[in-house]
């Protein structure tokens, strides 16, 4: 299977790829901690004082006065290795890159880098808006350590790579943000670095340029250069990198085989989303509980107080839950057994009722809907409190976010209580198929087909 935007991806499926490969270290990070000082108002003088006294901003600070961007990081990146770093916003990825680049100094620990470093952190940092692209290439090249003659030699190649030949003598202030990045990337990759640090810069250019950059990065890798790559594009990290580090709030959560780390990260993100879905739902229910009585009084027997909810309220949904793995949970793996539980209360006994659920994507695509009537259950009597559950032994949705609508209505379809987006949940999947449905499947092949992973496909 090919993944989008990818070529190569060597090492990803090899046994033991998670182990540190041999060879000399290009980047060595030992016990690194980086604290930032909280910039509390009125602390300016204290900041200056501590800077003057200790040459540092963080000495002798209490835990409340500082923020640990990174804590106890140990890693070794071998020469020629492509090393990925993933994690949520604020997990310390960029700080790690800046430490390796030498822009920041660690509060504790050591960072050693062997060879010339090019940090593609913010491309075109230091471009001067008033002067031309060509002049900026010289300035930027000089900042990155190239002499004037070296830039002279590479200028044509830089301009060609950027694809900005027609604009190179325009002042940079007239460039679009994409053009800015193209020129910045072109200069940076022409500085001939031994270690390339890339921080989420490929996302800015257009598709074609992103591919060009990737090809260039892969060329450099095959030349034995080292890559430290920070990205939120997990597919890209997985395919490009030999090993991956997952940073979680400044701590090293996991390091090793890209597939394993990325999957664990995705799983953890889904769990977090599931928790968020649950909190949101609980919050909505609490609000409803508080406002419910008033709304009922204001609009007796009328429509629900929100657009998300309507019906005659002859029967009312008092709770909608998702159950998985024997607990209330709002994330599930594709194919896992889940149930949706509807809790209902009827004001007076009803003889005509249908329970239904509907699953849709956030963009409104209907994935699946069913109700007790369609399933052949004929109503006899609903009185007081009741719980109804639809159990799916294997919910084969593709990975993504989904909404569930729940309803109780008459056989004719007149709603007693229709609750749109009663809950949301996240589905994860080891297989990266797209769409909404993920049937159980496998690939088979015969004849002149061979697979890199050696598995019987």
């Amino acid at each position: 299977m090919t993944r989008p935007g990818v070529a190569g991806g060597e090492g990803a499926g090899e046994p033991g790829a998670g182990a540190e490969p041999g060879g000399p270290a290009a980047i060595r990070v030992e016990g690194v901690t980086k604290l930032y000082r909280r910039m509390a108002p009125g602390a300016k003088l204290a900041t200056l004082k501590s800077a003057l006294m200790g040459g540092t901003l963080t000495r002798g600070l209490t835990a409340e006065q500082s923020i640990a961007a990174l804590e106890g990081i140990d890693l070794t990146v071998r020469r020629g290795e492509a090393f990925g770093v993933i994690g949520g916003n604020g997990s310390g990825k960029s700080t790690l890159l800046k430490l390796v680049a030498g822009i920041l100094r660690p509060t504790a620990g050591r960072v050693e880098v062997d060879g010339r470093v090019a940090a593609l952190i913010e491309l075109g940092a230091g471009f001067h808006p008033e002067i031309s692209g060509r002049e900026n290439v010289y300035v930027n090249g000089a900042v990155l350590g190239l002499s004037r003659r070296e830039v002279d030699r590479r200028l044509d190649s830089i301009v060609a790579f950027s694809g900005l030949a027609d604009f190179i003598d325009e002042p940079v202030k007239n460039y679009s943000s994409g053009m800015y990045v193209r020129l910045g990337f072109a200069v940076a990759v022409h500085t001939d670095p031994d270690v390339l640090l890339v921080d989420e810069v490929l996302a800015v250019g257009d598709e074609a340029f992103a591919h060009k950059c990737l090809r260039r990065i892969e060329e450099m890798l095959s030349d034995g250069r080292t890559l430290l790559f920070v990205s939120h594009s997990l597919d890209l990290v997985e395919s490009l990198c030999d090993r991956v580090l997952w940073l979680d709030r400044g701590r090293q959560r996991m390091v090793g085989d890209p597939r394993r780390v990325v999957d664990a990260y995705r799983q953890s993100v889904a769990e977090e989303e599931g928790r968020a879905h649950r909190e949101e739902k609980d919050e909505a229910e609490r609000e409803r509980g508080e406002a419910g009585a008033a709304a009922d009084a204001a609009a007796p027997g009328g429509a629900g107080r929100r657009e998300r909810r309507w019906g005659s309220r002859e029967a009312v949904l008092t709770g909608v839950r998702m159950l998985a793995g024997g607990e209330e949970r709002y994330h599930a793996a594709s194919g896992e057994a889940v149930a949706f539980e509807l809790e209902v209360e009827a004001e007076r006994p009803l003889e005509d009722f249908v329970f239904g659920v509907r699953i849709s994507t956030p963009r409104g695509t209907e994935c699946w809907g069913t109700n007790t009537h369609l399933a052949g259950h004929r109503p006899r009597r609903l009185a007081g409190l009741a719980t109804v559950r639809v159990v799916c032994p294997s919910l084969r949705l593709a990975a993504g976010e989904y909404f569930v609508d729940a309803a109780v209505h008459s056989t004719e379809g007149a709603p007693y209580d229709y609750w749109r987006h009663a809950l949301a949940f996240t589905v994860t999947s080891a297989d990266r198929g797209v769409g909404v449905y993920s049937p159980e499947h496998r690939w088979e092949s015969a004849g002149g087909v061979e697979w890199e992973d050696g598995r019987e496909a």
């Binding site: 930032y36 000082r37 300016k44 003088l45 900041t47 200056l48 800077a51 003057l52 040459g55 540092t56 901003l57 800046k98 680049a101 030498g102 822009i103 920041l104 100094r105 470093v117 940090a119 952190i121 913010e122 940092a125 230091g126 001067h128 008033e130 002067i131 002049e135 010289y138 300035v139 000089a142 900042v143 990155l144 002499s147 004037r148 002042p171």
Partner: protein, 267 residues
């Protein structure tokens, strides 16, 4: 204290490129372009001549005749020094993007402000020379061969200004009030330097000492003696210039070194 100097020498190529960028950027988009470097001092000369030559007759003018020539001899170098300090003190703030995103010898940024303003001053030197030549032609006993000593004074003032700018710019990163303090201080110092008046014209002894002890004064006296009066400064004055240069560089560079590690984070 030597490290900033070493880095400046090591990255002199980049220093030149950045200074050239600064100069190019300044006049980019203006019609006169570099001519402004000539027009600005000329216009200043005209304004000061008009105000102080025709409206106010300065006290002790007999010691500085023609007054306009006396004035610009001290004023042009002062403009270099004060613009360098005011621009340079903001340099880390202005370039915080560059500092946070690239590995960069940070001492270059304030130094670029000093050098680009030095270029403007040097471009004004021909105007100064022409004005002095005209003065001589009109029979005033101004200038003479000691004017050729100008480069020596500039060379002595360069480390003084650079040292000050390094220290002030680093301080300003942590303490934004520095900028306003420095701006007001420079205005005060302008009047406490014998630029608008000859030192000898000061009537009070205590005030004379105040002006004489101003660290900018030896250089101003040096410019005036060589360019305007056409005399070679005595060794004491040279020693004073050298001493001020040494002290200013040492303290500025020391302060900068203390704050170096924290610049990137605080900028």
């Amino acid at each position: 204290m030597l490290r900033p100097a070493r880095e400046l020498v090591r990255f002199r190529g980049l220093l030149g490129t950045l200074t050239a960028r600064e100069l190019k950027a300044r006049y980019r988009g203006s019609v006169l372009g570099f001519l402004w470097s000539l027009a600005n001092p000329l216009l200043q000369l005209a304004v000061y001549t008009f105000v102080f030559g025709l409206i106010f007759r300065p006290h002790g003018g007999g010691l500085a005749d023609p007054y306009a020539l006396f004035l610009i001899t001290g004023l042009f170098p002062w403009v270099w020094v004060s613009s360098s300090i005011l621009e340079g003190s903001m340099s880390f703030i202005a370039s915080s993007g560059l500092l946070r995103k690239a590995v960069f010898p940070v001492e270059l940024l304030p130094t670029v402000a000093v050098l680009s303003n030095l270029v403007h001053f040097l471009l004004a030197v021909p105007i100064l020379a022409a004005a002095l030549a005209v003065g001589r032609g009109l029979g005033y006993g101004v200038s003479g061969w000691p004017a050729l000593l100008l480069p020596a004074i500039v060379v002595l003032q360069l480390p003084m200004v650079t040292g000050l700018v390094l220290g002030i710019s680093a301080l300003n990163v942590h303490f934004k009030d520095v900028r306003d303090i420095v701006a007001n201080l420079m205005t005060l110092l302008f009047f406490l330097t014998p630029i608008l008046y000859p030192l000898e014209a000061i009537p009070y002894r205590s005030l004379w000492w105040l002006v004489r002890l101003n660290p900018f004064t030896p250089y101003t006296l040096g410019y005036q003696q060589t360019l305007f009066y056409g005399v070679v400064p005595d060794p004491t004055l040279w020693a004073q210039m050298a001493l001020v240069a040494l002290v200013a560089w040492a303290s500025g560079a020391w302060l900068f070194e203390r704050l170096r590690e924290t610049l990137v984070e605080a900028a």
